[in-house]
Amino acid sequence: MSPAHAGRAFLAILLRELLRFVQQRERFFAALVRPLVWLLVFAAGFRATLGLSIIPPYETYITYDVYVVPGLIGLIQLFNGMQNSLSMVYDREMGSMRVLLATPLPRGFLLIARMLSGTAVSIIQVYAFLAIAALCGTEVPPEGLLPLLPVLIVTGLALSALGMFLSSRIRQLENFAGVMNFLIFPMFFMSSALYPLWRVREGSVLLYEFCRFNPFTYMVELVRSALYLQFNATALAVVVATLLVFGTAALIGYTPARGGPAAGRPGGG
């Protein structure tokens, strides 16, 4: 595979994901509505009742809607990672993944390209969400928007890797909904997305420990730090480790012989 071929193929995979995203308007709106409901309904309700003390990286008292923005960014990327995973299972079931994998490109390259293109879509969703949040009166630090970009690439890739790992383990599309229910909501709620961990510990030490071992907590904290121009080395280390573990497991475990037309079972033809 020459560098020119690799570049052309990567751009094609990226462009295809972006085209599909733009053309599936419902998907775009659904991706935005979900965090906006949390921000404009849930957070607005809690804003009056929940006070937050000054905790890093914030240098002053903040309102609850400002606190949940990094968590909702994480939620967008989490859902997008799972959407990619669903899309890969669907593509495998429908057979279009077989067309991709039967091209003269290394399988690892194709899977990484899919992860990167999914991450690119999630980044567009995040910035669209931040723009709407700012328009609705939530304070979004403009100086943090650029440093946020590399962080979103790493967190997006880690969640895409998790999604791809799941898609490598799921045999059929029907099994997907169950896995999602047992993954997305526990990951989101057992993290620092909606409440600071010191508050969680006050309520339940056990839950606090779950939150501490949840990689999504560190993704949210990495985003929070970047937005306020701070560097959280621990969070970055955990996110990168998550990316490497699930990325490697997905690349090793992904096989077209699992699921798909006539794949992994006799009787195809």
Binding site: R8, R20, G95, P106, G269
Partner: protein, 269 residues
Amino acid sequence: MDAAANSRESTVKPPTEPAAPVLRVQNLSYAYGKYKALDAVSLELRPGRVTALLGPNGAGKTTLFSLITGLFDSRQGDIEIVGHAIRRARSRALAQLGIVFQAQTLDLDLSVEQNLRYFAALRGLPGKEARQRITALLDEIGLAEKRKAKVRTLSGGQRRRVEIARALLDQPALLLLDEPSIGLDIATRRWLIEHVHRLAEQEGIAILMATHLVDEVMPEDELIVLDEGRVIARGQVDDVVRQSGADNLDEAFTRLTSKSGKAKPGAQP
């Protein structure tokens, strides 16, 4: 290839050395757990010839295609495409290959042109060359006016034509067609069979077409009959019919596959 087949080759092309095989499969076996889907299959395909791979449902045709395209791995047996072993030189081998899978695999939300450009990029075709090939191929399959149409709006037959064009984008030496006529009307089936033979004759492509429909096999085709994962007959159509003691291919196919108890002349009304 066995002795009978070799002697037939020598009668078909006596004046010259037979062309080097485009596809060589030797002693290939594959099992899904304890179920042996392919058992020591060997075959060779030469340029400019159509080979019909005839077998009832579950004979192992799709498994064979999955192995030739590198989607499945088998440690038992060898596959070479234009001299490149799929196990050792996967990219070079697949660069010579075009495939139309049994399930339709176009992206429904993209246009005909977007689908073809996506695939051209995956094959490494530069933009200008890709555009020229797409124009030529769409003219050839009679769908030039559908260039900008979303695939979702095309009929099943039109989608199949686009898939054939997609498989030919990179001018492959070997074209695999896995039951390409399933779900197509009679006129489209006729067009497809004629087009496939035209491709072999005019462009010298070696074509392996899996089917369970005996009326899709032309008298001039090479024929390989696969049943329960084994090659049970091979040769030119007349030879296979004569050797089976039958009067026609329909009857020969029934006789040859009757041992498994699931044969089924596949003549489609």
